[in-house]
Amino acid sequence: LFLGYFITMNSVGEACTDLKREYDQCFNRWFAEHFLKGDRSGDPCTETFRKYQRCVQKAIKEKDIPIDGVEFMGPNKDKPDS
């Protein structure tokens, strides 16, 4: 039942799951071994990210998922500070 360890989540684009897995593996390694340690040297994942994004952004358009024009942290603007 360690399935979670070997299984990656599906992408919203069925054809993109392999590209997602490849990118996630690259990112997770960079995040833990470089980014969090304050290492500002380049990001080794730009190429795999680009391939993955090309696929997933296409799927998002095809499925009409309403992500356009949603500002980063958008809804936070209306919220009172805790």
Partner: protein, 210 residues
């Protein structure tokens, strides 16, 4: 108008470990309702913060009395966006999560702040706030109550999911979780079989009238 919810949570892992787990939290035994996960935007800012946008698909799990207010063409899964900022200098992470579909039926926005526990530098504290509202005339209070109850339940699952992933990362065997996973899987299989039987029964009934 709307419901406000606030709670704090504690994870007995370092802030670094929690951030690493944050990106690896799906799938876990408590996240069967999460169907897809995608990073759809990511950048390192000039101040060396990591900003990301994650798109999730979740099953909508509304009770039948609520589903009647969903337009027929709307699917039973909802799309959710999670924006996050990781600041490795300050050792804080802020996330904002909200649904971009089904929003008039019920809108849930959740803001979380992850920081080092002030009492124990090896632990991580999570401050969680949520705003739950509904635009359905005459039913908004009932929907908000349902939404709040479901949100509290999902917070429990989130924390259990985190603990599971953190234990796995640290090489522990979460044996209690194996038993829970087995029970949950069995329950879901039984439920799926029941739904299938109902479908077949109603299908058989329809055929009689053809």
């Amino acid at each position: 108008m709307g419901k406000y919810f606030y709670c704090t949570g504690l994870l007995k892992s370092t802030w670094d470990q929690v951030c690493i787990a944050f990106w690896q939290r799906y799938p876990n035994p408590y996240s069967n309702h999460v169907l897809t996960e995608d990073i759809i935007f990511r950048e390192v800012t000039p101040s060396n913060c990591l900003i990301s946008r994650r798109l999730l698909t979740k099953t909508s799990r509304s009770p039948r009395w609520m589903e009647r207010y969903l337009p027929k063409h709307m699917s039973s899964s909802a799309y959710i966006i999670e924006d996050s900022i990781v600041d490795p200098q300050k050792q804080t992470m802020t996330t904002l999560t909200w649904n971009i579909t089904h929003a008039r039926l019920m809108s849930v926005e959740e803001r979380c702040h992850y920081q080092i526990n002030p009492e124990n530098g090896s632990w991580t504290e999570i401050k969680r706030e949520a705003w739950i509202s509904s635009g359905v005339y005459g039913l908004s209070r009932a929907i908000q109550e349902f939404g709040l109850a479901r949100f509290k339940n999902s917070v429990t699952k989130t924390m259990k999911g985190f603990e599971y992933v953190l234990a796995r990362m640290q090489g522990e065997t979460p044996s209690r979780t194996l038993a829970e996973t087995a029970t949950e899987r069995a329950r879901e299989t039984a439920l799926a079989a029941k739904e299938k039987a109902k479908d077949l029964a109603s299908h058989a009934q329809k055929k009689q009238y053809v």
